[in-house]
Symmetry: C2
Subunit: 344 residues, 2 copies
Amino acid sequence: MSFSPQSPTIADVAKRAGVSIATVSRVLNGNTPVVPSTAERVQAAIKELNFVPRSAARVLASRRTSTIGLLLPEIGGWFFPSILRGIELAARQAGYDLLIHTVDVEYPLKTSRRALGMHNTDGLIVFTNSVDDDELAYLERNHFPIVLLHQTPPEGLNIPVITIENKDGAQKLVDHLIEVHDRRRIVFLRGPEGHEDSDWRERGYRESLAAHGISANENLVARGGFDETEAASTVSQLLKNGVDFDAIFAGDDLSALGAITTLQSAGYRIPDDVAVVGFDDIPLARFMSPPLTTVRAPTEQTGIEAVKQLVRLIRGEAAESITLLPTKLVIRTSCGCKPKEVVP
Amino acid sequence: MSFSPQSPTIADVAKRAGVSIATVSRVLNGNTPVVPSTAERVQAAIKELNFVPRSAARVLASRRTSTIGLLLPEIGGWFFPSILRGIELAARQAGYDLLIHTVDVEYPLKTSRRALGMHNTDGLIVFTNSVDDDELAYLERNHFPIVLLHQTPPEGLNIPVITIENKDGAQKLVDHLIEVHDRRRIVFLRGPEGHEDSDWRERGYRESLAAHGISANENLVARGGFDETEAASTVSQLLKNGVDFDAIFAGDDLSALGAITTLQSAGYRIPDDVAVVGFDDIPLARFMSPPLTTVRAPTEQTGIEAVKQLVRLIRGEAAESITLLPTKLVIRTSCGCKPKEVVP
DNA sequence: CTGAAAGCGCTTACAG
DNA sequence: CTGAAAGCGCTTACAG
């Protein structure tokens, strides 16, 4: 039903080239010397028959799947395509296929154990909370290669993690609001509950305030949900409650968008009345009005690093226990900077 | 290196349950009756040993990979995550794994034949131009199940295609500009060369003009590239050239964004001076200023349909040769409608 | 309903 | 450098 019946096998190639299947295999894998003239005959036979070795047979015989599994939460973010591209490129380059499974975050364990694991991959890249702690512990106990993306491992588990300089980026951003634009009543819009990126950004926010002798005001910390709609409703609530603020550090660019929209339709001018900044530098950030000041993370690089560390683990080498990719301030005008000063 | 050495096999389960491996296999697959009490013992053994059957062995023995391959162009669009979700959900539900490969559109053939094909999948979902015509012909000649997404098959090949009502959506949108807002000098911003979605949208545009007795003006058709930057530079060029227009139908929402940005910084008011509409209804469309009138496509559904048709082919059933998913006008204010009339 | 056995298409020691 | 052969871990006729 799936293989064409006449689909050639290694035996067909061997027969045609007049060699044993072992020799064909050696030509295919290139890891054992083969006399050039023989190799050429084999190559020719392969081409003529349009032969492609059955993956399953190779996997079974070699005990290596040459496949990396990627577990993602169902709700894909904006960075998702570029991280995926990074992972796919790096995986292919290292000789691995990529098997993807999206996880209903409500049932991380049940779904994940079945779909991707040691039975069909050599290692797993796990994105933010898409595998629960018990499952991670189980996999680690069995020395199965795993790398975490944007999530530190649960207590006691030694699993490499790839993430970005959230705290540092956030701190620099808030420093900028305070030092350059003299804002002191800065709202922070949190991401979803339990989202580590958001937690670190919040720490950066708090440390910046502290470093400038501004005492934290808990009324200024509210839910943004990494989501335009939630941020929009939170900001209207703040306005309704008469909370006094002169800037908003939205947890991500989407919530910045929601905040800006709400403020503008309530008649506030940005950045004059309220400065608004985000995090991520999604493609549309530069097109918002005003263009959004934010923090850029090297998303594609994140995926590449994840594969790099995972491949080390698969090869039995040591991996970095934490890889922290640098973030970078992107100054536009929503913070109060003038177009002249803008980084292109 | 990849399987833990002690990782249990079907033989371990059989021994523990005191049955043959054939019986374990039958319990696993549930396609042959097994006495309930025996089945329970087997299930218990499976659970105790934490046994998960090796995929490669099943594939090799059964001659079915139970895997669907997805070929994507490297440049992921906005709809990408939701289409992927649709595909993944539907694939899993139908009992298939999902193997993904992104294709450098410069070399569609070379990369694609190696990565995904009959040697490791039961069928392929091919996204816009990620496999070249010769390769498609080769696959079809071998009766390998394929479904195309947003791309009609090359001449003479009978490959099912899933796409959306591009022409109809575009036509309704332009009808709206003409009939409701009395615009007659409407610019169309094309997508990338050879992009079928764009071609169909252009046809809808032209047919709407024709239906209203407006003769096409080729000066009003220009490159938008499905891209903010390209659209922005095209629109400034139009302005510089003194081209006279009262509306822009951008090929997609991103180019609408670029157009709006450019017009506004040149001092034009939207929609009063120029109405701007897009296509796709990306998440940020409602947050643009003004909120963008556009056309919505059921992206997740597109992925689901693709899997559905592909599974039919894999099972040897007949598939719909074309599945056209409906699009829907989303009226906001960038076309000139007042907020009151806005669809929520 | 169940088991023994062949076979899926490769890789890889082991000899030579 | 090359071949014969065992074996990877399953599924599936074939008997019984």
